[in-house]
């Protein structure tokens, strides 16, 4: 990170900006008294969880509001000119020319019936009256600037013909084509894979510097902000709670909310996480629009809240070094007198590196990390975790051998014309899960990890390969499985909104799962068990009578987990269990999963694209690429070295929440090849940064043993990998 420029030039300044939404008959405050300065050649991060108002703020700064929203007060100064007082008709010439927006989902923002070249060219033609041919040339030039290979060809393509990463580049090209003064980037990489995200983030940094634009980067992800931004503003319940330079904020967060948010994120970069550690969580939920009060918005969830916090809203204090904090007790936090993470007793250390780093910077984070004590402090659970994983219990729960699955077009036409090419989703993958342990499965989209999970639970049947559960062969199609096998396997899916039937109460759903697994139980026993299960996922019994629509995302996911445990299964397949949840909610779920594994003796197969989450929860890890296992071993081995070049790139691409972390920069070029048309030889050779030569293209690499069951599928000898990867 570069130090702040000695002379900073404010491009856009929001002063005391308040925005209201009309809900029913009332105007409710969404954003109150926001002050924000965005400078040229600076990326300003805006962090907040869902409902914090971050997207509304991003759009409000452009004075782009829904019809049921209004600016209730304050100014938005763009180069000194107040946008807030302008009517919408006078905003049009500014949108797209001086102010540009990059959306989260570029596919929704691009018109499917025009080529991307036409869409980019339209903007300068509209705003600067550029001629058609000139604008077309400019569009190609922009595509070149966003590092698209063959820009002339891509300009003639339609959005659906491009990959996610390419579309996002096109969206950026569109935003930058008029040399805007301000770019609002609204979670532009959330929908992308990590390796693609890393490349796109590099591109942002470079282009914003080149164009000397100001940028606001809106995200829920603290780590991408740490990697990309110079300055960051934390938003909570529509208020700025803290603004600081990224380095300062991450070294020493001063607001209790920021502290909790930073601490609740698992991190693969501090690998070697033991069983005993738990993620600190922020208790409670953010207030809804109607619940916002005149006191400190965070007080109900704040472990440090005192009387004044519940009665008076703290002012936004500006410190000597230019930070802004909205907290009554920030001075005490700054001096270390109080710490929201350790109100009662000290917590266990997590790892050497982090604690050294933390102490050096006198961070309140030092508190969350650990001694050997497994007494959780700031958790909403209060439970303790014991994992009995002694040598005697190394019993295999699930063993899958050489599972293979290819999808063929099943349409009549495709079959008749015999033109159908199979999609090789999973190719000869073997794995085993031990009792009370977790196997992590990592891969980007298209790696076949979800298909593998569906093969194991029986939602798809494999072309070849076998499955053994508790030492007994189980048939592939679900219908052929005996009841005893069915109750041993459960699944928790990614989207909590889909997991629960919207027309069944929580109690019915869990009760049904109990009844199905234990038909002999009497109705009152089922009810007791339901309440007991709700209690074990720390949900109140009163929730049993509710419908899913009355629950938050995190609560729904906890109900889904309770339901999965209802049958006391031997194995639970967790398919991206936290990826649609906020960071603070994710911490609650991860802790819960860890506790339940210990208490109920379950085993997990955890599937995720998030290496941090996988390494937090699992002992053993498999990395997949294009349907093949490329590496497996203990989590520490896989994320350490030697490792497969793909894993190496994956680890390097994960943004770290520590802006000072030493980083090896490995960027993968190009996109993941189609599973319809697999590369010959090593499947990774088309993108491999350590490409050896013809052998990679012609010969499938061997599985090499790197010791302790750690295997790597690569032509490069293990010793060579060690040497290459030693910094």
């Amino acid at each position: 990170m570069t130090p702040p420029h000695p002379v900073t030039l404010a491009v856009l300044e929001a002063r005391d900006l308040s925005v209201e939404y009309k809900i029913g008959r009332d105007w409710l405050n969404v954003l109150s008294h926001i002050s924000l300065t965005l400078n040229a050649d600076e990326i300003h991060g805006l962090v907040g969880e869902s409902g914090s108002g971050k997207t509304t703020l991003g759009l409000s700064l452009m004075h782009y509001l829904d019809s049921n929203a209004r600016i209730a007060g304050g100014q938005i100064l763009l180069d000194g000119d107040d946008l807030a007082s302008r009517p919408v008709s006078q905003m049009r010439p500014i949108w797209g020319s001086k102010l540009a927006y990059v959306p989260q989902n570029p596919l929704a923002a691009l018109n499917p019936s025009y080529t991307v070249g036409e869409q980019i060219a339209e903007i300068p033609r509209q705003h600067t009256g550029m001629s058609r041919t000139h604008a077309a040339r400019r569009a190609v030039e922009m595509l070149r600037q966003v590092k698209i290979a063959d820009p002339d060809v891509v300009a003639t393509r339609y959005p659906h013909q491009l990959s996610g990463g390419m579309r996002q580049r096109v969206a950026i090209a569109m935003a930058l084509v008029t040399q805007p003064r301000l770019l609002v980037l609204d979670e532009p990489t959330t929908a992308l894979d990590v390796t693609t995200q890393a490349v796109i983030l590099d591109l942002f940094r470079e282009l914003i510097h080149e164009h000397q634009a100001a940028a606001l980067y809106v995200s829920h992800d603290l780590a991408t902000i740490a990697q990309l931004c110079e300055r960051v503003t934390v938003l909570y319940a529509g208020e700025v709670v803290e603004t600081a330079l990224v380095r300062d904020l991450y070294r020493q967060p001063l607001h209790p909310y920021t502290i909790g948010l930073l601490a609740s994120r698992p991190s693969a970069h501090t690998a070697g996480v033991g069983h005993e550690t738990r993620l600190p969580v922020i208790p409670g939920v953010a207030p809804s629009l109607a619940e916002r009060s005149s006191a400190c918005a965070f007080a109900p969830r704040c472990p440090l809240a005192i009387e004044v916090c519940r009665t008076h809203k703290p002012p936004l204090d500006i410190t000597d070094d230019g930070r802004a904090i909205r907290c009554h007790r920030w001075q005490e936090i700054a001096t270390g007198d109080v710490n929201p993470l350790t109100p009662q007793s000290p917590l266990p250390q997590r790892g050497e590196a982090e604690s050294v780093n933390a102490q050096k910077s006198r961070s309140p984070l030092a508190g969350i990390v650990s001694t050997e004590s497994d007494q959780p402090v700031v958790t909403e659970t209060g439970g303790t975790a014991h994992v009995g994983d002694s040598a005697g219990e190394r019993q295999t729960v699930l063993h899958a051998s050489a599972l293979t699955k290819a999808f063929r077009d099943s349409g009549l036409f495709a079959r008749l014309t015999r033109r159908a090419r199979a999609v090789h989703a999973v190719d000869s993958v073997s794995l085993h899960v031990n009792r009370m342990s977790t196997l992590g499965l990592v891969g980007e989209s298209g790696s076949g990890k979800t298909t593998l999970a569906r093969l194991i639970v029986g939602l798809e049947s494999s072309d070849s390969g076998g499955l053994e559960l508790m030492g007994i062969d189980i048939p592939q199609p679900l219908d052929g499985r005996p009841a005893s096998a069915l109750s041993q396997l459960r699944m928790v899916i990614q989207n909590p909104n889909e997991a629960l039937n919207p027309y069944q109460t929580v109690g019915y759903g869990i009760g049904r799962a109990i009844h199905k697994a234990m038909p002999a139980l009497k109705p009152y026993e089922v009810r007791d068990r339901t309440l007991w299960l709700l209690d074990s996922v720390r949900l109140p019994a009163s929730l049993a009578g509710r419908l899913p629509s009355e629950l938050s995302g995190g609560e729904k996911q906890r109900v889904a987990i309770a339901r999965a445990f209802a049958a006391q299964p031997a194995l639970i397949v967790l398919d991206e269990p936290t990826s649609s949840l906020d960071v603070s909610v994710q911490a609650v779920i991860l802790n819960l999963l860890k506790d339940l594994r210990a208490q109920r003796g379950a085993s997990y197969l955890l599937i995720s694209h998030d290496l941090d989450v996988v390494s937090y929860l699992s002992e053993w890890m498999i990395v997949m690429y294009l349907g093949q296992m490329v590496e497996e071993g203990t989590s520490a081995h896989v994320t350490g070295f030697p490792s497969h070049p793909y894993t190496e790139a994956l680890v390097s691409a994960i943004p770290s929440a520590n802006p000072d972390a030493p980083r090896r920069l490995i960027r993968l070029e190009g996109d993941v090849p189609s599973a319809r048309d697999l590369p010959t030889g090593c499947r990774f050779h088309t993108r491999c940064p350590r490409y050896l030569g013809d052998i990679c293209r012609t010969h499938e690499p061997p599985l090499q043993d790197a010791g302790d069951g750690h295997t790597i599928r690569c032509h490069i000898p293990v010793e060579e990998l060690v040497r290459l990867q030693t910094p």
Partner: protein, 281 residues
């Protein structure tokens, strides 16, 4: 409850529901409150048949060319048309739902074959098919119901099938499969509640079309046979006498139109409440 409240908030829907309810009450108690039997030839004080009396205090809708009280006949006729159309709707919606759920959830070649069969059935104009069927079966109330069921079951099945198809791969249905639930349980406990909005709209819509079809068949002489008062047939007969007694046409035709429109308004209200965008055939 929320559904009901939202439903009644729209004035048009409210009007539709109220008028539909009035007609339903009419079908239930109409014959009991009708001033005259439907086939009573009214005679005036002189003992002459009171033909073509214009609407008055005594004969609210007037009398027809045979001297029968039109008001009484409309009241009597409500039971037949609403009863037949209602029964046909109930049967076709029930049958269509079961078939649609099974096709949508199961998929595969059975779905392909049955769906194509339905498509070919639907490609024949409804009225032509109805006329042909009734000409063969003979025009009895049972035959009318059978024909409407034959015509509308595929339409309902198609709507429910596509709704069920969308729910087949949804998370909670797959979770239920993993639990080892039977197909019947999944169809009726997991999927059916999700298609109920589509079903409610479709049922109301089918009802309005069934009324219209019954009336049209009556008009063409294939409805309930005389002397039973059939609204469609009343329109047909009054049409020939329009020059001399136009009120004979107004009231039965008005009753048909009013009932169809109000049922449609109800269906439209339901659609808005459920935010359901279904195809209208």
């Amino acid at each position: 409850m929320r559904v009901l409240r939202t439903l009644l908030q729209r004035p048009l829907t409210l009007i539709g529901i109220i008028i539909t309810l009035i007609f339903l009450v009419m079908a239930l108690i109409g014959p009991n409150v009708a001033p005259y039997p439907f086939d009573n030839f009214i005679r005036d004080t002189a003992g002459k048949v009171a033909k073509r009396v214009p609407p008055s205090a005594e004969f609210v809708f007037g009398t027809d060319k045979l001297g029968r009280d039109i008001y009484s006949r409309v009241l009597w006729g409500a039971r037949d048309i609403i009863g037949l159309a209602g029964l046909a709707t109930l049967l076709s919606v029930t049958l269509g739902t079961v078939i649609g759920l099974a096709l949508g959830y199961r998929g595969g070649w059975v779905d392909e074959v049955v769906s194509r069969l339905f498509d070919s059935l639907l490609s024949i104009p409804a009225m032509v098919l109805a006329l042909a069927a009734l000409a063969t079966l003979g025009a009895s109330p049972g035959a009318i119901v059978a024909v409407i069921v034959l015509l509308y079951t595929p339409i309902v099945a198609r709507v429910i099938r596509s709704a069920a198809l969308g729910l087949r791969g949804v998370g909670y249905v797959e979770i239920a499969r993993l639990r080892g639930e039977s197909t019947l349980y999944i169809l009726f406990r997991e999927i059916l509640p999700g298609v109920l909005p589509a079903l409610a709209v479709e049922a109301a819509l089918r009802f309005s079309y069934a009324i219209f079809l019954t009336a049209s068949l009556g008009f063409l002489g294939l409805g309930v046979q005389p002397p039973s008062p059939d609204w469609g047939r009343m329109v047909y007969e009054a049409r020939l006498d329009y020059a001399r007694a136009p009120w004979g046409l107004w009231f039965p035709a008005g009753a048909i139109a009013l009932l169809v429109i109000s049922v449609n308004l109800t269906a439209d209200g339901l659609r808005r409440v459920f935010r359901y965008e279904g195809g209208v055939i």
